[in-house]
């Protein structure tokens, strides 16, 4: 059987923070195949954001092996093998929409003409034509997040890491951006790892949902999502969609109960923001 080499491969990854003796992640094993859309879901504080940052070499694991595109996570970062989107858009206030999107291209030393052409493409993709000259504070939250997605996609990344990118948005915007993201994912054929709190969102978007347990974060279950592609608004109405949502919810509940930890569900942000 010849399977393609995984894009991301995690072996027995553990992360603990010496301060407070917090074990954020324990014994994580996960392979992500090319073209997959994998969601990480779990209660607050389960370390899913930390796991994403470990893949991106923004946080170092305490132990375990992380391989991205067949090399170390650090090398993959230095080779700019992935793009990351955070929960808050992280736009630079002093740059216009166009120049925010162009930032990674500037760092790659693309020339001006090539940058402009790509920015135009990206602006069209996220439907922000006409706003190129606006500054971030002149945009709504949803538009800002679309800029940050356009920026992440500006240099066609083979691997896209997304940390609750739509978490702060209203339901309508969220569903629309979900659909956009899927369209982009299909077009680009990239691999996505997506952290979310929302069960329907995870089921709607993913080919696989990874359910994580409360701290210390472990992989409690993996749910294969066999909904047909492409997914549309109708997908959310299908009985199979509801079955899968229920399945994920049950796994989450099990994961929550089989841990003795009664620690309050804060701390995820704390863990994510711990300086590397």
């Amino acid at each position: 059987m010849s399977r393609p080499a995984p894009v991301v491969s995690l072996r027995n990854v553990t992360k603990s923070f010496p301060r407070g003796g917090i074990v954020a992640l324990q014994g994580i094993d996960l392979d992500v195949q090319p073209g997959e859309f994998v969601s990480l879901i779990g209660p607050s504080g389960c370390g899913k954001s930390t796991l994403l940052r470990i893949v991106g070499d923004l946080v170092e694991p305490t132990s375990g092996e992380v391989v991205v595109n067949g090399k170390s996570a650090r090398q993959a970062r230095l080779d700019r093998d992935y793009r990351i989107v955070f929960q808050d858009p992280v736009l630079y206030d002093w740059r216009t929409v166009a120049r925010n999107i162009a930032l990674p291209l500037e760092l790659l030393r693309w020339d001006r003409a090539r940058r402009a052409a790509r920015v135009r493409e990206m602006v069209e993709l996220v439907e922000l034509t006409g706003f190129e000259g606006h500054y971030p504070w002149q945009l709504s939250g949803g538009m800002q997040q679309r800029v940050s997605i356009a920026r992440a996609l500006s240099f066609s990344p083979a691997l896209l890491l997304m940390d609750e990118p739509f978490g702060a948005l209203d339901e309508m915007t969220r569903e629309r951006l979900n659909a956009e993201l899927l369209r982009i994912w299909e077009l680009s054929g990239s691999t996505v790892i997506f952290v979310t709190h929302s069960i329907p969102e995870a089921v709607f978007l993913s080919t696989r949902v990874v359910v994580m347990s409360r701290r210390p974060g472990r992989i409690a279950a993996v749910v294969e999502v066999d909904l047909p592609q492409p997914r549309t608004a109708d997908t959310r109405e299908e009985p199979r969609f509801f079955e899968l949502v229920t399945a994920v919810r049950d796994r989450l509940r099990d994961a929550g109960l089989d841990e003795e930890s009664t620690a309050p569900a804060e701390g995820e942000l704390l863990v994510g923001e711990e300086p590397a």
Partner: protein, 262 residues
């Protein structure tokens, strides 16, 4: 409504206050027959501003140069100190409390001392006190700007494999710009105060602070008042010039653009 008219409407109330303030002053002094050494009428001051313009201007310009020289030195050193301090977290923790506390010290009280150190009649002693005055606000503001970047902004740059230098140039520095300008603006006011008060404790003949004291001593109150008016005007122009540069360099900033987003 046209832009011009909107701007005019913004300025009119302030202009009305200015004009009526002057008129009230003039009428009050004349009507109540206030003694000249207490408060001369504005018309006399204006007359003196014109008749003694050469002497007044040269004195003001001399002191303004003291202020400007000290300002440039103090702000530059303050910014450099902020760069160094913001680079190492430990150093920052050790040093910043004192830099902030320095804001509560009446540094101007040291002016007689710097006069002793750098010579009463030279410009250097006034520049020194001005530099010290400008140093701390610049250092504190710039350091705050350089270190208040959100962690995710830095993480994003790391995900692009950006070097420390690139992160500094593309993120830390532009992020710190509004803070730096805050330090620069505060500095303009302190610089004028420092230079004139430095002069009061003794300075070169022909310096504005020295002249104001001399005029008061020989009961030339119109001259003294004219000097104060000119010093104030220079201070305002100095501040406005820096504010203008700020507007030009930070067109992106909401505070500059005015919240016009729809």
């Amino acid at each position: 409504m046209s832009r011009l008219r909107r701007q005019a409407e913004q300025w009119v109330p302030a202009a009305v206050v200015f004009v009526s303030g002057i008129a009230l002053w003039e009428a009050g002094v004349r009507g109540l027959d206030v003694q000249n050494f207490l408060l001369p009428p504005p018309s006399d001051i204006a007359e003196t501003l014109w008749s003694d313009r050469r002497e007044l201007w040269s004195a003001s310009f001399f002191t303004f140069r003291e202020a400007l020289g000290g300002y440039v030195v103090g702000c530059s050193l303050g910014f450099l100190a902020a760069l160094v301090v913001s680079r190492w977290r430990r150093l920052q923790a050790a040093v910043m409390p004192y830099a902030i506390a320095a804001g509560a010290i009446p540094i101007i009280a040291f002016a007689p001392i710097t006069n002793n150190w750098f010579g009463v009649t030279g410009m250097a002693s006034k520049m020194a006190i001005v530099a010290v005055l400008c140093f701390f606000p610049m250092m504190v503001n710039a350091a705050r700007g350089l270190t208040s970047v959100r962690p995710s902004s830095i993480e994003l740059m790391r995900s692009y494999a950006a070097s420390e230098l690139t992160v500094f140039r593309r993120v830390r520095l532009p992020h710190a710009l509004p803070y730096v300008f805050q330090g620069l603006k505060v500095g303009t006011v302190l610089a004028m105060i420092g230079a004139i008060v430095g002069d009061y404790f003794g300075g070169a003949p022909g310096a504005l602070g020295v002249e104001i004291r001399r005029w008061v001593g020989i009961f030339a109150f119109e001259q003294a008042w004219a000097g104060i008016v000119l010093a104030s005007a220079l201070g305002i122009v100095f501040y406005a010039a820096v504010a203008l540069v700020e507007r030009r360099t930070m067109a992106w900033h909401p505070s500059v653009r005015g919240a016009r987003a729809e």
